[in-house]
């Protein structure tokens, strides 16, 4: 299993591994997502409170799985529409694989984020807002970095699978667009992850399904410019 993950990280997974995709690999990728993203998630919530850390350790892998499930059908359809020749099963495995890579990278970065957390001004201090911003920015960079690398590996795999660069790019960008669109909304529904200094520690906010991410962005935009 470790050898397979090393091959994944090197970007050397062959098309064959998706062609004979078995349940074993689904289980292994899911396990990697659960372990990597839970460990990393715990470091996200720890700044606010240990309980928030436990909540975020549960919610981070949940967010990934809900995004995969929610977009599973449409991603499979888009892959076929763009002529990639990928089946629904292969599509799901390829997407799980990229999330597994991101989770492994995030898991490896968690000692660094934990160190940042140790050095961030704590919640009760006068500089709590600086601490919150420091933690937030660190996680934004870490998640963006892991996401970019995981998608580069996915693009390499798609190129090998489809044999055409244009098709591979079209499939990847369509998946990315869908996953980002749904992922942002699900992250909004599953908030809080870090936990605002002024709000109580909760698994979900009192009204998790009220409003949506894009309305909130639009309102923020209106407050800023109108």
């Amino acid at each position: 299993m470790i050898e397979h993950f090393k091959t994944l990280l090197r970007g050397e997974v062959g098309a064959v591994s998706l062609e004979k995709a078995g349940l074993r690999w689904f289980a292994i990728y899911c396990l990697a997502i659960v372990v990597g993203s839970s460990v990393y998630g715990a470091t996200i919530g720890l700044w606010r409170a240990p309980l928030q850390s436990a909540f975020t350790a549960i919610k981070f892998p949940l967010l990934i799985f809900l995004t995969c499930i929610g977009n599973g059908a449409v991603n499979g359809m888009l892959a076929q529409l763009f002529g990639s020749g990928l089946s629904f099963k292969q599509t799901a495995l390829a997407i799980l694989m990229s999330f597994a890579i991101a989770a492994v990278i995030l898991g490896a970065l968690s000692p660094v984020t934990l160190f940042v957390l140790y050095n961030a001004p704590p919640l009760g201090s006068a500089n709590a807002i600086v601490g919150h911003s420091m933690v937030l920015l660190t996680h934004v960079f870490a998640v963006a970095f892991a996401g970019i690398l995981a998608n580069r590996r996915l693009l390499d795999l798609l190129r090998r699978m489809t044999g055409r660069d244009a098709t591979a790019r079209a499939v990847l960008f369509s998946w990315l667009a869908g996953n980002l669109f749904l992922g942002a909304q699900l992250a909004w529904n599953l908030r809080p992850f870090i936990g605002s200094p002024g709000l109580t520690v909760q698994f979900l906010r009192d009204d998790p399904l009220r409003g949506n991410f894009y309305e909130a962005v639009w309102r923020a935009f209106q407050h800023l410019f109108f």
Partner: protein, 220 residues
């Protein structure tokens, strides 16, 4: 590598023929060699630490070496998992022992260079009361040392068949930032203090700017 058991030969090879050390780190006896390199590296940093502590004298003569040794070890432990993953991302089929060995050798190499700079640092530490100046000087020497250390990791990566340098550059930035922050986490290292560790948490840039603005402390 001829006579890997001999510490002097090992350190000489690290300076003159780093390729031999890289090759040896990929052999079966790599864990023993890696362990030695880490011990020499931490010892070297601690020796340089006595020069750092000489600025304030007194208890700082043992506090500074202890903090620098522990800080280096912590930075290595914090960054080791990401180096292993970044090594794989760089296209290398590396073993954990080779990655550990390369990192420990880099730390050892930088500590040898720091020992080389120690007499220069000591002369300045006895001539000035400025913590900010000495901090900048130690930092400059450390940056020179770690630059060669990171170059060693880069050479090891090429030896092991790395396809891309970008991942190592990003990891190098992470390692340097962790080390910079470690100097603030374990402060004060140069100047004296009533407490062993700080009571307030700070970002390293904020701490550095405050040190620059602070008035000079009287030498004991």
């Amino acid at each position: 590598m001829p006579d890997a058991e001999n510490p002097v030969s090992l350190l000489e090879n690290l300076l003159k023929h780093p390729g031999r050390v890289v090759h040896e780190l990929h052999q079966t006896r790599a864990p023993i060699l890696a362990g030695r390199l880490l011990i020499f590296g931490i010892m070297g940093i601690a020796i340089y630490g006595t020069v750092v502590g000489a600025q304030s004298g007194g208890a700082q003569m043992w506090i500074a070496p202890a903090k620098l040794g522990v800080g280096t070890l912590l930075a290595v432990l914090i960054c080791l998992p990401s180096l292993y993953i970044f090594t794989c991302l760089g296209g290398i089929d590396a073993q954990l022992r080779s990655v550990c060995g390369a990192l420990f050798a880099a730390v050892c190499l930088s500590s040898i260079l720091l020992i080389g700079f120690a007499p220069v640092a000591w002369i300045f530490s006895q001539s000035t009361d400025s913590i900010a100046f000495m901090g900048a000087l130690h930092l400059l020497f450390w940056v020179i040392g770690i630059r060669f250390g990171l170059r060693f990791i880069d050479a090891a990566a090429r030896f092991l068949g790395a396809r891309s340098k970008g991942h190592f550059r990003i990891w190098s930035v992470i390692f340097v930032l962790v080390c910079f922050q470690m100097t603030t986490t374990l402060r004060p290292i140069i100047g004296p203090s009533k407490t062993f560790l700080p009571t307030e948490k700070k970002f390293f840039l904020a701490h550095w700017f405050e040190t620059i603005k602070a008035p000079n402390q009287e030498k004991k």
